[in-house]
Symmetry: C2
Subunit: 197 residues, 2 copies
Amino acid sequence: MSDESADELLAATHRALCRHGYADLTLRHIAAESDRSKATIHYHYHGKDELFVAFLDYLYERYTEAARAVDGTPGREQLRSLLELVLDDGAHAGPGFATALLEVRAQAPYDETVRNHLRRFDEFLVERLEAVIEDGTERGEFDDAVDPGRAAERLATLIEGARARGAVADERYRVVEEYVERELLSAEGARFGEAGR
Amino acid sequence: MSDESADELLAATHRALCRHGYADLTLRHIAAESDRSKATIHYHYHGKDELFVAFLDYLYERYTEAARAVDGTPGREQLRSLLELVLDDGAHAGPGFATALLEVRAQAPYDETVRNHLRRFDEFLVERLEAVIEDGTERGEFDDAVDPGRAAERLATLIEGARARGAVADERYRVVEEYVERELLSAEGARFGEAGR
């Protein structure tokens, strides 16, 4: 299968997942969203599980691509864009991305492969946050008493915690904004949220 | 059924849940852990779902009882005891408590009743944390520039976030300890963890 065909099939998996949820995701449903037959899909992937692993890689690629492409001049603006992307569960990465991620997360307690994939998302996010905070600290936008690695861990923990406690995207943003304004911005910093929201 | 019998049956549900997990939890398994027949259990509860809701209440009672009974003089010591209880997923509340809570959490994405129960756990924790922090602030142990309600929310979010990111109990403790030492303790405060760990 060419890369292009493979991508088309993973996009079909994405649509099928959003429409039916993981529990009712079948190769038949995926075939219905694509121009392949169920038999063709079966020829390339030995069943739903193998296809789902390929789909997790595809989701990761889209997520990291979107996170690398966030706008804004380096520093505070870039941090805000990155946080908006993450707090919306990657909604900026395209329609249905948040729904797909929700379905994937719900599988995590039952599936080590899914947990390992989510760990990659998490590690990527912490690294990206750290780089953006480091950059902003060098530019004097963030308090240089703050350790970028530690701040990145704290932010990732707050984001996941707000999500786990059932906060919707807006509330998550408040939790994180409060941390950034109180602990991260240097004394001269303008309010964090005002330009964007 | 007397209160005592009901409690005995819920304790049997707890043992069965720890042994088999939620997916394989059946009235037969629960009967095997108790001195009741499956028919007797069925007479009192119209199936596994109804019994599980009663079990969630039972778990909540045990959790809140354990959280109210934490040791330590009011203020910092009490906060440490409360956090230790929560960070261990209530392991102090008795053997198997953490396992039961893990199984319950894994059901949350699929079950609104479970989500509502977990919300009660969360609200209770935030209230309890706020009361302990308020008390400690009045005693001068915590920085009085900190708002107790806000600090309680921040702590609850960090705890859930560390859990969601797959941190084991010790790492969760570090995340939370760092917050308490850096943001919460008044300047005169000794290190938070040193007495206990």
